[in-house]
Amino acid sequence: MTGIELRHVRKQFGATVAVEDLNLVVRAGEFLSLLGPSGCGKTTTLRMVAGLEYPDKGDILINEQRINDIPVHRRNFGMVFQDHALFPHKTAYDNIAFGLKYRQVERADIERRVRRALDIVRLPNVGDRLPRDLSGGQQQRVALARAIVIEPDLLLFDEPLSALDANLREEMRVELKRIHHTLAITAIYVTHDQAEALSMSDRVVLMRDGRIEQQGTPDELYRKPASEFSARFFGQVNDVSATVIAAADNGCRVKLDGGPEVDIAGIRANTGEPIKLFLRAERAQIGLSFPNEPGFATFEGTITTCDYLGVLTRYVVDVAGVSFVVLQSAAGSVLRPRDRVTVRIPSDAWMKF
């Protein structure tokens, strides 16, 4: 297994800086996601690793060896493209066998390896079909088989599921994870879909404007966002302006602007300091009433809107002039707009950047 390292990598297209001073280590066997909005440099980074773009500055290293100048076709990295990029004039079998033809593999061996790759992606009987006769999901599986049959040192994914519909995407996510596990191979996965990145990756690298915003395990990124950008990237976030009215070692007491006073755990601030607080919509709860418990703040409020989302319902609650967005399981929901409710927020749910 091989890991890969990027050191001070920079890439510019015309006047646009796509990637700026990027440092990244991908460990051997790891499934790493490059996540970010479009234009954040994630695809450019992947293409530089693949050798399809040449970095303006910096080094890309494998086992401490600089590979910047090794051309694409000698890198032995398998790549799966966004719209699968199958060769339209070749059958599924020939698509998969393509890479082996340039690798001095014997005929009988080609046959064996292609069959095995088709088995791994669970498509044993489509070898003689042309891409146009395959469904979207099958096409993506053939593209995956084509990338893994060459036994690559690194597997690169460029938003491979974004062209599929939602159900298929879900199914392929599980498949990709299984195949990654089966092959025990280092993988870099580019996506703009936070759910994809969180559910599949060992580690997620969140990018913004050509730089790394934050990296860590999916859990770390979700629980301990390092910035407002990170926090907002994984779901809906409330932001509230407040003024510190009392400070302590392990927290403080603030007055929300125009709203009630709240105790906050884990955030240190100076008395009198204006601060901006953030709260994930799913960490707040609403109900008709809650028992008084330590570690929670409760406020009275009025529901202004309800959006039924299926599994969840999104409520907007007005608490003395401050609007809170609350995401709550939709099961058994009986709350309606204009209902008087209690909002309960754990004192450790607040975030400050």
Binding site: V72, H73, A85, L86, H89, G99, L134, A147, L164
Partner: protein, 272 residues
């Protein structure tokens, strides 16, 4: 509903009349080629293959036919090779002078052939070159190159870049990628345009008259020469052969293109 049907019949009739208007003269030529009367008269006096037989004996015509075939073959082959290379560089690379180059390669299609004819002839003079067969080929290349460049570069641009990139990540270098992926996908366009180049070179008369070396005729110039003396039935026979030949060639090209082309449309699978 009935108004719509009437409109459709009207459209059908109009289409038929248009085709008739365009094709009837050609048909008349083919039919008259079998007429026994030595002058092109109607009604026909009888059926004969005599004019074709005479044509086969006519060394001037056979020589012209041979010249035209060799000329069209040379010009279209060279145009195809050079034009495909040019199309490839125009559609795959960004380089200084790309715009002007594209313009230069397309402009001969807009310039009247008489201007091209005189222009190249003057250019020959400036460089002190005598009229010769190779120069004639070069002239025809200049005229047929735009067809190849336009058709092929259009096709090449329709091939998604990531297909070629996929081939390269799989271990094929640029040349292998071109041979295994790009060329097969562009082949229908390349073949169609080379056929078109062949036919337009075979047909060309205006500029060819300026460039022909002494004592050399192509089929169109030979026909012109023959027409100066009389309307010979042999001309009808020759014209009939050319018409049938063109139709067969065009049909063959269409069939070949259809057999080779792979559906480049969006895949059938669901997309969001």
């Amino acid at each position: 509903m009935s108004a719509r049907r009437a409109l459709r019949s009207l459209l059908g009739a109009l289409t038929l009349i248009t085709y008739l208007f365009m094709l009837a003269p050609a048909l008349v030529v083919v039919v008259l080629a079998f007429n026994t009367s030595p002058s092109s008269t109607f009604p026909m006096t009888g059926l004969t293959f005599r004019w074709f037989a005479e044509l086969a004996q006519d060394d001037a015509v056979l020589g012209a036919l041979w010249n035209s075939l060799v000329l069209a073959l040379c010009a279209s082959t060279l145009s195809t090779v050079v034009g495909t290379a040019a199309a490839l560089s125009l559609s795959c690379f960004r380089f200084a002078g790309r715009g002007p180059m594209q313009l230069m390669l397309t402009v001969p299609i807009l310039v009247p052939h008489i201007v091209l004819g005189v222009g190249l002839l003057l250019a020959f003079r400036v460089f002190g070159l005598a009229k010769s067969f190779p120069l004639l080929v070069i002239g025809h290349m200049a005229m047929t190159l735009p067809y190849v460049v336009l058709t092929t570069s259009h096709r090449l641009r329709a091939i998604p870049a990531n297909i070629e990139e996929a081939a390269r990540t799989l271990g094929a270098n640029r040349i292998q990628t071109f041979c295994a992926i790009t060329l097969p996908l562009a082949l229908p366009a390349v073949l169609a345009s080379s056929l078109f180049a062949f036919m337009s070179s075979f047909d060309e008369v205006t500029a060819t008259l300026f460039w022909l070396p002494a004592n050399m005729q192509t089929v169109p110039t030979q026909i012109m020469a023959m027409l100066q003396f009389s309307v010979d039935q042999k001309i009808n026979a020759l014209a009939a052969l050319l018409i049938v030949g063109s139709v067969v060639l065009a049909a063959a090209a269409l069939a070949l293109g259809r057999a080779l082309s792979v559906d480049e449309q969006r895949p059938r699978g669901k997309r969001t």
